[in-house]
């Protein structure tokens, strides 16, 4: 990404974004106080939401839902309409931001075709997980974040157990588990200032939609099988108390020719909160070929690997082979400007999902207020909170860097850079450091020793073996 691209991006605010976010904020405030009996201000905010959606296919359903709120007769479908309305608004913000990013960089992106979405498998009649989720989410909405007590915060525990037992419902299970932990940590909350209003409304709305159609987004989605060479750029790690996901951003060169494409391969494991730092890689050890490519900086050859329409590979380690060593910066230099970006699945369109791989070099860094990079006069904050404890990349190494592969992200009106790999100095010598360098175990002997001594995964697995199956 050149300085001119970044300057253009930072100078452009897509039309309507701030107005749309104001409507979302109005709904979020109403949700924080509970939808049961909205006062005049919040009723007006909800009317605003209905107004914004009027004239769209959702318009009638949202209007009806807002009316039902004022008469106090809420049903499942009403909450789904409200969650859908909020999701559509943020989806539009997402699209506007991605368009401006693609335009600034001159990136080509696939368009989404409706046929790419598999038909939804029918929900079994006694789906306790989905029904339990809807009931709990409904209670949360009626109560509002400010009214959530300890019992309501942990009210979904049994539902989550049912969802976790069904691989098709993993997305909803992991989402509810994350939300539950946060509610338990912050509730009861005394004031709305103490509540992450936007974030919890995000999680709530997504959960409501998933709870109505959860199986559609599981492993049964329609896939095409692809073969060719994968060149990893870096790994984005996500983690909450009971889940970790390593999302590997790659450039894919199809074996049958065609332009290089940006794809992701994702590995997820269930965990507990005491398993943190480099230990999380042990939970993903079933995928040695992919982890080996990260740790050893190798390309991969994939054969008949399923690819979903949103650019996600459904990873099968046995359909991949390790290739030659490749410098991720060579990959970025060669391909990032012209690789075709995938379309984003409609439900996933939310600004939080924006994670576009970029390559920058020739910048200066400034650590006076957080860390920022200055690229030809354009200033971009570096999101140091997104440097994972499972890898060697630290704020100091980023501050000393001269080139960076990272993900562009957007939150609350601001673009930022999440580093995945840097060219930097280690002990005054030039070095490349990446978040995935420790995928096969820490290469720093001191870190490795501590990890070995704690041995959290082995200790807990041994207990689980003895107590759960004993």
């Amino acid at each position: 990404m050149l300085a001119a691209h970044l300057t253009e991006l930072l100078d452009t605010t897509p039309a309507g974004v701030s107005e749309t976010l104001d409507i979302v904020a109005g709904f979020d405030d109403a949700l924080a106080h509970g939808l049961a009996r909205p006062d005049a201000t919040r009723a007006a905010a909800l009317e605003g939401l209905a107004g914004a959606l009027a004239g769209t296919p959702l318009g009638a359903a949202v209007g009806e839902a807002v009316e039902a709120l004022s008469s106090g007769s809420l049903a499942d479908g009403h909450l789904a309409a409200l969650a859908g309305a909020r999701t559509a608004l943020l989806g539009a913000v997402h699209d506007a931001l991605v368009d401006s990013l693609d335009a600034a960089r001159g990136v080509t992106r696939d368009t989404w075709s409706a046929s790419a979405q598999a038909p939804s498998p029918a929900e079994p009649a006694d789906d306790k997980g989905a029904a339990g989720s809807r009931a709990w989410l409904g209670e949360l909405a009626v109560t509002g974040w400010l009214g959530v007590d300890r019992d309501l915060a942990s009210g979904a525990n049994q539902t989550i157990e049912a969802l976790l037992a069904d691989p098709a419902q993993r997305r909803l299970a992991v989402l509810l588990d994350g939300l539950t932990a946060e509610l338990q940590a912050l509730c009861p909350a005394a004031a709305v200032e103490q509540v992450p209003v936007r974030r919890w409304a995000d999680l709530w709305a997504r959960a409501v939609l998933l709870s109505h159609d959860s199986r559609r987004y599981g492993p049964c989605q329609a896939a095409t099988e692809v073969s060719g060479r994968l060149l990893p750029l870096g790994v984005d790690v996500h983690e909450h108390g009971t889940a970790v996901q390593a999302q590997v951003h790659c450039v894919f060169e199809p074996a049958d020719g065609g332009p290089p494409r940006l794809l992701c391969a994702s590995l997820t494991a269930a965990k507990v909160d005491a398993i943190v730092g480099p230990a999380v890689w042990r939970l993903l050890a079933d995928h040695p070929v992919l982890l080996g490519a990260l740790a050893e900086r190798r390309s991969l050859t994939i054969t008949d690997m399923p690819l979903l329409a949103g650019g996600d590979l459904l990873w099968h380690d046995d359909r991949a082979g390790a290739g030659e060593e490749v410098d991720p910066f060579a990959t970025a230099r060669l391909h990032l400007a012209d690789a075709v970006a995938p379309a984003v699945a409609p439900l996933d369109r939310h600004p939080v999902r924006i994670a576009e791989p970029v390559f920058i070099e020739g910048y200066t860094t400034d650590a006076t207020s957080g860390l920022t990079v200055d690229l030809g006069g354009a200033t971009l904050p570096v999101d140091l909170d997104r440097l994972p404890a499972c890898g060697p990349l630290t704020p100091k190494l980023v501050a000393d860097s001269t080139a960076c592969i990272g993900l562009l992200r957007w939150d609350a009106g601001q673009w930022s850079l999440q580093p995945l790999a840097v060219r930097t100095k280690v002990k005054r010598k030039p070095a490349t450091v990446q978040t995935g360098d420790w995928a096969l175990g820490p290469t720093d002997p001191k870190v490795a020793k501590v990890e070995e001594r704690n041995n959290a995964v082995a200790v807990l697995r041994e207990r689980a073996g003895r107590l759960l199956r004993g």
Binding site: E161, R171, P196, A243, R353
Partner: protein, 179 residues
Amino acid sequence: MEGDAVDTERADFGQRSGVNVVPPARARKLAKVPFVELADGRLQGVVSSGSDTARVYVSSITAGSHALNCGTNNNRPCGGLSQGGACKHLDSLVNEAVLQYGAQRVADYLQAPAHLREADDAERSAEAALRACLEGKPESTPPGVVFGRFLRYLSYLEVPGTTTALPEMHWFPATGADR
């Protein structure tokens, strides 16, 4: 100036999707105290017996009242606790909770005596305040609930992994490289 910065940060907290709400736990050795949590209004956990590898103690301190409880998972009270004052299992529980969550978070949760806590030495004074929580009165609660929570905790290690992307995890970035 400083006040303004704090205000902006707070306003931002409500408007941001990606804020970190639950700080990640810190790594610790799990062999002695395999399970610690702040939940159900208690600091509670499971402590391995020093003498018998097959036996575990279920220990807890209630927030606010600082009622102490310790006994084996098959309901036998801990001898150390009945002699008055906290037993070594409760000591270990508090020590490991401090390692995992930091003293301040544990002291906040337990509502440790505020007069023992000092703003300019927050972590150390929180630890001192936690020692005061260990002087509470013993109170018998059935160990089944906490032990059940431990089994549920362990069951996560048996949930199979997946390679289906979970887009919702973008709300939960891994963090903590600067620790």
